[in-house]
Amino acid sequence: MSHNVLDLSALELREAVASGELTAGEAVEAYLDAIERREPHLRAYNEVLADEARAQADQVDAQRRDGLPMGPLAGVPVALKDNLCTPFGHTTCSSKMLADFRAPYTATAVAKLRQAGAVILGKTNLDEFAMGSSTENSGFAPTCNPWDPKRVPGGSSGGSAAAVAARTCAAALGSDTGGSIRQPAAFCGVVGLKPTYGRVSRFGLVAYGSSLDQIGPLGRDVADAALLADVISGYDPKDSTSIDRPVGDFLAGLDRPVHNLRVGWPGEFFSDALDGEIRSAIEKARDLYKELGATIVDVSLPHSRIDTDAAGNLSSYAVACYYIVAMAEASSNLARYDGVHYGHRTDRPCDDILDLYSRSRAEGLGEEVKRRIMLGTYTLSAGYYDAYYHKALKVRRLIKNDFDRAFEQCDVLLCPTTPTTAFALGEKTADPLTMYLADIYTISVNLAGLPGLSLPAGVSAAGLPIGMQLIGPVFREDLLLRAGRMFEKASGISRLAPPMVQ
């Protein structure tokens, strides 16, 4: 059976291990072998934890031999975005600043994976401190898209998405602040879920924009996303912003279609900014839902509208609002990396402690991170707070109200995940603003604290995956996943395999 281990979904792999058809040890070896073969073309991993993974797999196999109960992820090899703290290996956030950082604690989501029997294969690459949409802002090296190594995998969870697509892990965790799970999931042709804010504990996730950050799963199909979401969700006393609310069994209800599903169609998202092929793929999805008995409802999200000026430049309240909130929070969250408390310290002689801070930060942090820290510091400064941060909070409230109104009329919203398919490495690095617009369809979901699911809607003529996004009301991940599953089943678009694994 070992010759097709890599073709098994996480759910199938778990069943195979639980039934004894396959050992966790065999599964890990198959994945370590795949990593060895494919990583040179991908660079999805910052660190492969082979010894640790083998030891964890042995544990699972021993458990089975002893007749002990098997967890819901027993023997499933999982990759972790490298901003999730693990007591083994490093937690670098793909920053030179934290290149040597080893956390003495475990992120709650990771602890839950381990408890469920998952085997941690390694830590995946990201845009430094999760700031970016292409993984090119990694302080170490960019990751390539498994569908076309000249293209980006998206970001910031680009390493996790690429590894899931390239079958160098069975599933992965990422984090999503403005689209960082969904956008790379779309670019790499996998399924990514950003849960409701507060659904998954943020304890052990190195913070970027604390009021927006949320950990979520990436998998090859909707069932795998549901399986991982079941495991990592739930209240955590270590995170005051996690919500004390019973977690449903997402996987168990997955194949129950949503009766009388009302699919919301936000017209604002279908402007000229949208790539034509993506538009028609989403329209096809809409038609398929109609065939499945769903009603399509036109809804309006005026504050998430995307405008195009005469020169063709895009703008959006949501994007502006997002960058003010996220950068303000980031400027404060990253203040501790000063070379004295944490992180890289300059070797050069310094005049005083301020000089030491400045030089260490200048050397240890990348361009995009410095840009965001400076912008965030600026918007929080006396005299600017009202014009920027305070106003952004008001816009954030308006965006949330738009969604609340929309969900009075429909169950889920259907829209694109990204305005384009995966772009070429280096294409947007010179112009940060264009890069920021890669997230125009995903960031309002974070601002409103809603759950969002990206799943493959097809493949473009150029052979690149197209993602569609389903957005739901708070704590209705179950609806999103069931609606996603309906599409997946009816369309047959599932478990897309990039050429490198075919």
Binding site: A103, F203, S210, T241, L380, S381
Partner: protein, 492 residues
């Protein structure tokens, strides 16, 4: 030094930082304890490691609300946390979790007893909760060490309105606040351990020829004793007036606000070099914590836990127990001492007798040990027995004092101890008669004087003979019985 035609009015406001006496820190479960080896009470949260999150200590919030309610503050329904950013080695995250625009307590007042017995009302602007920073340790010329045991300790910042007008009033306000927070069990308020720190704001309103001039508001940072507080305020009043006399442009309009430090050796405030830019703390709402929602039920439950406050109790002691102002004031320095008195009185002891015991040996021992009278160690039951035995003539005052000391040192039952130590008053007539006989025959002159016509002489001689009898009994004779026998013996 004030020129005769100037009216100089000092305007003083005070910020007081009070470390709360919680078992654990504000946002983690590390021990909140002074004096442990450096960096032993720390964890990933209070040293601000990447990825960890703060979790609010509810006890600290409740203690702060109790202080606020006792200060007659409004405790709003909605209060939140904010981040205050500045870079400093003793601040692990380079921001402090504090409260900016929506503090836990607002708009209150405190009645401050002044030395002359009058009461000064000082308004409270706000009292908010925050986490303390660590401490830089300069014990090595080559390096500065950082001790983070204090980082994350809950700190209540109480900000007054500028309602005080003299160093004495500032000191009295500080002492009243110290007494209040101790009273409520909110803080040990021990100055040596840095539990209380003061930052006075001082300026002068000088009226000359019908025009009022205001000197710049000077904030003196980080004073940690009442002596330095009063010293710094007094020094600033003089310094600002002299400076204004020498420079008419030394005004609030032209110079703004200034920070100064306090030199504890030279006893003067010193100019602190201003940063090129004004401090910009870049406050914004703390996203890692949820707002604190206070409902009426919670507020009233805490209000119900606030016991009778010092000034009310002092008035009751004077009215109900007939104590003097001085006695009542001394017994209301902390809550447990008064509780001791109240419990003994409730058990039937005489208030005045208990007061004498508490303010006699009690105060003396407390002074020696540097603790409160209640902490000397006598229980209400022991105090009750001691007072009752004295009043019943079973022991005399000297014996009561001796027993007090013994009980404080070793504990035990006053009655058993008095028996064991032979301190019960001797009432055996034959033993008393023998001592009376000896005293009279050995002091014939005094015996004659005791019978003289001169009442003054008579009284003095009788007292002398009483003393002689007591001496022969080694203090054990019951004075009332001795008096009776001695009168009989002298035929009075």
């Amino acid at each position: 030094m004030v020129e005769s035609h100037d009216i100089v009015k000092p305007i003083i406001g005070l910020e007081i930082h009070v470390e709360l006496a919680t078992a654990t820190k504000m946002f983690c479960r590390c021990r909140n304890h002074f004096g442990d080896p450096p960096n032993t009470n720390v964890c990933p949260v209070c040293i601000g490691m990447p990825g960890v999150l703060p979790v609010m200590n509810r006890v600290a919030v409740e203690l702060s609300m109790k202080v606020g309610l006792a200060l007659n503050c409004t405790v709003p329904d909605f209060t939140k946390w904010d981040r205050k950013s500045y870079y400093y080695p003793d601040l692990p995250k380079n921001y402090q979790i504090s409260q900016y625009d929506l503090p836990l307590n607002v708009d209150g007042h405190i009645e401050v007893p002044l030395a002359d017995g009058s009461i000064k009302k000082v308004r409270i602007l706000r009292a908010h909760l925050e986490e303390d920073a660590g401490k830089n340790v300069h014990d090595n010329p080559a390096h500065t060490g950082v001790d983070l045991n204090r980082a994350g300790v809950p700190l209540l910042e109480i900000v007054s309105q500028p309602d005080m007008n003299s160093p004495e009033e500032a000191g009295a306000y500080g002492r009243a606040m110290q007494r209040l927070v101790r009273w409520l069990g909110a803080s040990e308020a021990n100055m040596q351990m840095g539990h209380m720190r003061f930052e006075p704001n001082i300026n002068l309103h000088i009226t000359r020829g019908g025009v009022t001039y205001k000197t710049p508001i000077v904030e003196v940072k980080n004073l940690n004793s009442f002596r330095s507080l009063e010293g710094a305020v007094a020094y600033e009043i003089n310094r600002q007036y002299s400076e204004w006399l020498g420079n008419p442009d030394y005004t609030l309009d032209k110079c703004g606000k200034q920070n100064r430090g306090w030199d504890d050796v030279r006893l003067q405030t010193v100019f602190q070099r201003e940063k090129e830019e004004a401090h910009d703390y870049r406050y914004f709402p703390e996203p890692d914590l949820v707002p604190v929602l206070v409902d009426a039920e919670w507020r009233e439950r805490l209000r119900g836990q606030i016991v009778e406050l010092p000034l009310a109790r002092r008035a009751r002691y004077m009215g109900e127990y007939g104590l003097t102002f001085k006695e009542a004031d001394a017994l209301t320095q902390d809550a447990p001492t008064g509780d001791l008195l109240d419990a003994a009185v409730a058990a039937g002891a005489d208030a005045k007798r208990c007061t004498n015991l508490l303010l006699g040996r009690g105060a003396a021992i407390a002074n020696e040990r540097g603790c409160s009278i209640a902490e000397v160690g006598l229980s209400a039951g022991q105090l009750t027995d001691l007072a009752k035995m004295t009043d019943a003539g079973e022991i005399n005052a000297t014996a009561a004092a001796k027993l007090f000391d013994k009980l404080a040192a070793e504990g035990g039952s006053p009655r058993e101890l008095a028996q064991a130590e032979g301190l019960l008053a001797v009432r055996d007539e034959s033993a008393l008669a023998a001592w009376v006989e000896e005293a009279v025959s050995a002091n014939a002159q005094a015996a004659d004087d005791a019978r003289s016509e001169d009442p003054k002489k008579r009284k003095k001689a009788f007292g002398f003979l009483m003393g002689q009898v007591m001496q022969r009994s080694k203090g054990a004779a019951a004075p009332a019985a001795v008096q009776k026998l001695l009168q009989e013996k002298l035929g009075l």
